[in-house]
Amino acid sequence: MDFLTIIQIGDSTIRLATPLLLACLAGLFSERSGIIDIGLEGKMLISAFFSAAVAALTGSVWLGLLAGVAAAVIFSLIHGLASITFRGDQLISGVALNFLASGMSVLIAQDIFAQGGRTPSLSGDARFASLDLPFAEALSGVPILGPIYSDMLSGHTILVYVALLAVPATWYVLFRTRFGLRLRAVGENPGAVDTAGVSVKRLRYGAVLICGLLSGLGGAYLSTGLAAGFTQEMTAGRGYIALAALIFAKWRPWQALGACLLFGFLQAVSNRFNSIDLILFEIPNAFVLALPYILTVVILAGFVGRAVPPRAGGTPYVKER
């Protein structure tokens, strides 16, 4: 494998990891606050649809992004309403939202565009254009680092950089702010937070709102950044892989970046090579694609360290009277 191939695979890895990363951080906020969110897939899907649909209708990708994020936030609020206010089962609410997104997106698309549940192809301003980082052109001649910067890191859409910046931002918010401390506490021991006079409900609602925002960005990236339009079920399980990445990263932001890059890398490799030829035996493509799930199971089984979820995850908080 030569250097150029590595750069190209790196480039592809970043593109493929971005939606995973946004969804993974979304899940991180939600689950750290004690709200399990299996509905990431549905939120990404509904955002992918609304951002593509509004972008197609108005010709502006920014209005599309706004609509997509708004849709995902509304879905988050429904999830919050069911699991925080009404103390329902968080898994059931999440699964229901996934089904709702899957059906609703196609139904509305068919009604507006009559193209079999897809939006028209987007072009021009209705899509995110690729963004060149400063000095990308000038630095491309520098050996090794030049191509890494100008070919691998530069030339992605703005959402890719937003996703990458969201990692330190998440770390800062969670571990260096008062809000973050309380958020983590509410996921571990909501009773203690309540005793301290802080509203558990408000914190958890804050977390699911951030979750909606981030997963909305992820969905918009799929339909208006990577592809040019919405198609039925276009998230293709990325929300679930993001959940796997979250477990793999043991609910920590920097590790989440690592996990998403690893999973993106595995996808990029399987796209690039039909099978991987190790001298003694050949690894089939399907195995590489299954690796993220296998790794997650290995982690969950406790072979490599232990993955301990936030203690209060999945249990609605009932205030003592």
Binding site: Q8, R118, A236, A268, N271
Partner: protein, 332 residues
């Protein structure tokens, strides 16, 4: 009240008699959807043309999942549709089971052969059309590398790939042909994001012409090709209009004609069961030439393709069909 029930009764009788008299043709649109801009859409267009030209009526349903195949086929037959046209190789095993239960109904299956007395099987010589597409790609390529993106990894799609590779190698023996399949489940027909990513990966390996035989996934392939400024070749329907600057051509499979002819033959009572292969000679497969790609098609391409087409029809060039041996004679 009594008058109401009379009206209802009359309506019911009317509905019943309408049901019995129904001998309209039926069309079951396959997974991928009516507007996949490709295989299913082509069938739909054929049916629509038949409606416009004959003023006839037909019944249509669209599959939503793999599990509905048998149920939908049976319901269509029980409603009295004749013939029932099903699209795609994935229906073969179901049809094998359903067809004997409805001996008075004729079935038409496209893309696969089912040996039942009341089934007409229509297959296309995709390898021949893809061969011509491969030739055109090889002539257009400047890098000496061309590529192929398939949908679900099945013999039929490998048939496209193999014909394409043979055509490319016929023009330039040293040309490299990269081949990627999107997946191994029916979801592979509907993943434009992955299609685009596969295309970018092929471009980074030097490909400057990509041929997509991937249903809805192909939309992403053609889009990525347009974004990166390389040539693309569409499939099944004429997709030249989608990106006029970069669409070299489309390997058109006249599914529309097959559906149209089946409907028409059924109306005239001349539908013959058995196998029919639509090839270059019967214009069942062809390269689409229209105003969208006329600037991209050079004189050299035209002559080479016309010549090869005549030779294939005359049997001077034998294009290998992947599905006959489950292997391809050329390296990919």
């Amino acid at each position: 009240m009594t008058s109401m029930s009379k009206i209802l009764g009359a309506a019911a009788t009317l509905a019943l008699s309408a049901g019995a008299a129904l001998a309209e043709p039926g069309l079951i649109i396959d997974l991928g959807g009516k507007f996949d801009k490709s295989f299913n859409e082509s069938a739909y267009t054929g049916a629509q043309r038949w409606v416009e030209e004959t003023g006839g009526d037909y019944v249509e349903t669209e599959l939503q999942s793999e599990a509905q195949r048998e149920q939908t086929m049976r319901r269509m037959a029980e409603r009295g549709a004749n013939p029932v046209v099903v699209l795609g190789f994935a229906n073969a095993s179901t049809l094998e089971k359903v067809a004997p239960d409805y001996p008075d109904t004729n079935f038409v299956i496209i893309d696969e052969q089912v040996d039942q007395p009341n089934v007409k099987s229509i297959k296309f010589a995709e390898h021949e059309g893809s061969y011509l597409a491969g030739m055109m790609a090889a002539i257009a390529s400047e890098t000496g590398t061309v590529s192929f993106v398939g949908g679900m990894d099945v013999p039929l799609i490998r048939k496209f790939a193999c014909g394409y590779a043979q055509g490319a190698k016929a023009v330039n023996e040293d040309i490299e042909v990269i081949q990627n399949m999107t997946g191994t489940t029916p979801a592979a027909w509907n993943d434009p994001v992955k299609g685009g990513e596969l295309t970018r990966s092929q471009i980074s390996q030097g490909s400057d012409v990509v041929y997509a035989a991937a249903g809805g996934t192909g939309v992403g392939v053609l889009q990525a090709a347009a974004d990166e400024g390389i040539y693309a070749i569409g499939v099944d329907s004429n997709q030249n209009y989608m990106h006029p600057e970069t669409m070299l051509t489309s390997m058109v499979k006249r599914v529309d004609n097959a559906v149209y002819d089946a409907f028409e033959a059924a109306e005239a009572g001349t539908l013959e069961t058995g196998l029919e292969v639509l090839d270059l000679e019967s214009e069942g497969v062809a390269l689409a030439m229209d105003e969208n790609n006329e600037d991209l098609v050079t004189e050299e391409m035209r002559t080479a393709i016309d010549e090869a087409k005549q030779q294939i029809i005359a049997g001077e060039i034998e294009v290998h069909d992947y599905t006959e041996t489950d292997s391809c004679p050329v390296e990919m």
